[in-house]
């Protein structure tokens, strides 16, 4: 099964759910499903800022597994980080997200 994750809520999601569950499982190739994309809203976009330690691991595993990463454009502009993301990580809104996923559609989109 193919899944895409949408990180929509804040609090503990990136540091805990992504950083301590999903990411280690992807790194160890035992996540259980194929992750085809991740989209980040609001403060969750800080994980995509160049130099973020969780982001560095995420980008590495995304490149290895062909996972599409994208930040919400409005969220990134509001935080003035749109031009500070890891090289090659795009920003966009729903049309961009669906367009980016259209070549490798997930079976499920999971909002966290």
């Amino acid at each position: 099964m193919k899944v895409a994750y949408v990180f929509a809520t804040q609090r503990h999601n990136v540091s805990y759910v992504l950083g301590k569950m999903i990411l280690p499982q992807l790194e160890e190739k035992r996540h259980g499903v194929e992750v085809v994309g991740m989209f980040f809203f609001e403060d969750n976009n800080y994980v995509l800022v160049n130099g973020n330690p969780i982001g560095e691991r995420l980008v590495a595993v995304a490149r290895e597994h062909g996972i599409m990463l994208m930040g919400c454009d409005q969220c990134c502009y509001e935080r003035e980080i749109a031009d500070k993301l890891f090289e090659g990580i795009p920003i966009g809104c729903f049309p961009d997200l669906y367009g980016a996923l259209s070549g490798n559609m997930p079976d499920q989109i999971i909002t966290l």
């Binding site: 502009y77 003035e80 920003i91 809104c93």
Partner: protein, 136 residues
Amino acid sequence: MAENRGCCCDTESRRARVDDCFERGRRRQRNDPPRRGGRPIRARDGTGAIFDIDAVDGRIAGVRFRADSCVTLIAYCERLAEISSGLSVGEGHRIDSETLIASLDGVPRAKRPRAALAVAAWNAALSRIPDGKEAE
């Protein structure tokens, strides 16, 4: 910050944030939409924009636009409306993509082609103003 209206290419004193321009652009579109018809200028991905420009005595006196709901495009269109205020029509024609890109901080490289789309729509509207006078 006071706008410098002396020269259309004086971008240093005119830099702005995308988020602020986007919000002002959304308000402009909602409160003062284009009055004249016409077809939007579109990029290959279908994203489009159209300007409606008033000129009085050869000077840009009012700018309205409608742009598809792309944050970057709306911000660039709004920035064009702001930096062109009070310029002559000829000076308006001299605003190019590079000028527009330089006037707006924080846009990632992959999104900067939106500036060319905004400028193309801008020039299309300016070209409808004959001899620097407002088209009837």
